[in-house]
Structure formats: C-alpha cells, structure tokens
Amino acid sequence: MNVTASLDTMNPQFIYDALRKVGTGRATDPLGRQWLIEFTGRNDDDSMQVRIISPEDRTQELLVTEEDFHFSDNKVRIKGVDDFIGFMHPVYLKKMRGFTRGNIPTPDIAGPTLP
C-alpha cells in the first residue's frame, strides 16, 4: 500500500498538549492502520519517556533518545519497536522530529504554564 501524504490541518498529526505536557504523534503504517506515539516526559539528560500504542491497542513504554528515531521525508521508525513504520505528512513529521530535539511547539491545547 502506498500512503499518500495530504496536509489536513483539521486533523493534525502531531499536537502538543500543554495541560498534560504531552506531545502526540499519529502515524499510519503501510497497512493503513493508525499508531499513536505519545511523548509523556523529558528527563534532565534529554532522554524521553514515550508510549507507543499499536493498532491493536498494544501499549509499549520506552525510554528513548533522539538518536532512537529514524526520520526520512515521509516516515519514521523507532529503535526498539521493530514492527513500526509510520507515515506522516512531512510538515508534521518535521514537527515531531523537532520535538525529539527539544522543541516545545505552540500548544494545540494551552495550559497555564509552559513548557
């Protein structure tokens, strides 16, 4: 299956929730199924707690660094999640890549404090 990227700004594929302090990516695998990648925390050494939720609702908690993410123009893979290949629109893929490198976006869901 080819996953064709289209920029649907009504359904952003990476958002930041400043209330929960969580970034969430939504990727589509080659079978057209949806995966969630939730960034639930950033540690003092810039490693990150990530929760991966598969299309079958299988949840995997990982401690990762930015080097564990492999981004190309249209897809992302994550070390330690061998069965995951996630396609995203390049605009949101770069947004998520920036997040792994320390970016805190303008929040989609605003909270009383940042980041």
Binding site: T9, A18, V91, K95, R101, N103, T106, L114, P115
Partner: protein, 274 residues
C-alpha cells in the same frame, strides 16, 4: 594587517508569535511589525552586521545549550495551523548559517565549563518568525534557549559576547520571547487595552527593571505574580542578554498587551563595557 576586532553590536528581545508573519504578509502597519522591519533594516544597513545569533524560546532542551553548526538552516512548522482556533497560516523560511562562528561558540562554551553541544535543529518559529518579518538575509547561528538556570544563562551570554569579540565579526544577538505568556487565557478578538491584571502588572515590573539596567532583578518579582504571568522560556532570554550586553539597560521600542494575555514587547540593548 591587524585583524579587525569583533563586536556584539546590539541585542534584541522581540516577540515571536506566528501571527506576526500573517500581519507582515498582509502589509499591516501594526507597531510590532513595523518595529521588527525597522530592526531588520538597521541590522543590515546601519549596523552592517555579518551574522545574527538567534536563541529561540521554543528550543528548550534540558541537558545543555545547543548550537546548530549548519551552513543552511531550514524552518520547520511548530505552531497551530488554520483553521483551528488561534491557528495561523503555514510559513517557511530558509537562511544561510555561519558554521565557523557556531563552532567557536561551542568551543568557548565548553572551555568556560558550560554544557554546550552541537545539534542539527533548523529554525522553529521562535527564530524564523522574527527573522522573516525583519527581512534579514545575513547568516544566522541558531542556538537553543534551554531549560537551564538563570545564572547559567548569564554565563552563556558572557561567553557569546567574548566569542564574538574574538571572532572579528560584527554580530547581533536576537533572543525572542514574550513577557506574560498565558495562552490558555487568550482572546483572539480582545479589545484594545483589554488585558488581564496580573499580566499587566508583571509586564510593567519587567519593563521598569529592564529599562533601569536591572534585568537580572526580575528574579525578585513576587513568585505568585511570576506564576500568574508564566513568561515565555522562563525569561532565560533576558538573562542571556544581560550576560552578553554587560547588564545594559533595554530601550523599549514597542509594547503591546496582545490577545488579552500575551505581553509583546521589543527591547533593544547596546553592549556596554564590563
């Protein structure tokens, strides 16, 4: 021939809201836009700067101050897009880098005992929005603002200045940010002068301290008021500028309490002897 001495020409604290790019694209004569455009013109035509060091308030890693040594810097999108509430248009920007200055900053920072490292990052809107509205085309060095202590930010600012002065380059430091930054309270169509009380008080205290050359004393503002205002990047940007400028007073080029809960201010700082 004696090599020319480098100089930190000016430092600026400027707004970075993505709405500024929409205003500029529409030819708005809003004060925030006009001031940014005037700064851009001054940087290139009057100051004749060789490079800009830009510290985005949205690049907030924890472990170190990071420097992007790339020769080209491409923007990436990191704000909400229309038609969502408070969404903005999609913008892009590309600027040349200055790898030599970037590497000198890393070396000097590490020699000073600070956690300074290289990272490929690009330009988030905290950096590219003001640069785009300014219209500058000279090389830039993106650096992170980072979630570090205010004292470390001051020391990093001192290192930046020393590095520039030893580089033979004429450089401007740009550290964007907002004072009050309560996006959860924002009102898109807020009336002129409609602004929440704690934000107004906090912004006034910061402006008074900065204008008096006491930027570092913003630490002494009532913690409850600080928490209510939730300033962007914890005002690490002002501390970095204080270190770089020699605690110079800031000239207020414009101030605007925007969308009910965001303090848009533009400060310009000379570099004073230390």
């Amino acid at each position: 021939m004696t090599p020319s001495t480098g100089e930190l020409l000016k430092s600026y604290f400027v707004p970075n809201g993505s709405y500024l790019m929409e205003l500029a694209e529409d030819g708005s004569d809003a004060e925030q836009v006009k001031v940014l455009q005037a700064i851009g013109k001054a940087i290139e035509q009057d100051l004749k700067a060789d490079a800009i060091i830009v510290a985005s308030p949205h690049w907030l890693p924890k472990s170190a101050f990071f420097v992007d040594c790339g020769s080209i810097h491409e923007s990436f999108h990191d704000y909400v897009l229309r038609p969502a509430p408070f969404g903005r248009r999609f913008f892009t920007h590309v600027m040349p880098g200055h790898p030599e200055l970037a590497k000198a900053l890393i070396s000097a920072g590490q020699q000073a005992g600070l956690p300074v490292k290289e990272k490929t990052y690009g330009l988030d809107h905290g950096a590219f929005c003001p640069l785009k509205v300014m219209g500058v085309r000279i090389p830039v060095v993106p650096i992170s603002m980072s979630q570090r202590s205010h004292e470390e930010c001051v020391q990093w600012g001192k290192v930046i200045r020393k590095t520039v002065e030893e580089s033979g380059l004429r450089v401007v430091l740009l550290a964007p940010g907002n004072l009050t930054h309560r996006l959860d309270l924002r009102i898109e169509k807020a009336k002129k002068d409609e602004y929440f009380g704690d934000g107004r008080r906090f912004d006034r205290e910061v402006c008074d301290l900065v204008a008096a050359g006491r930027s570092r004393d913003v630490d002494k503002i009532d913690p409850a008021l600080w928490a209510a205002a939730a300033p962007e990047a914890n005002l690490c940007n002002l501390f970095m500028i204080a270190g770089a400028s020699g605690d110079a007073p800031g000239s207020i080029l414009q101030y605007h309490g925007a969308i009910y809960s965001v303090g848009d201010v533009t400060f310009a700082f000379d570099t004073v002897a230390v």
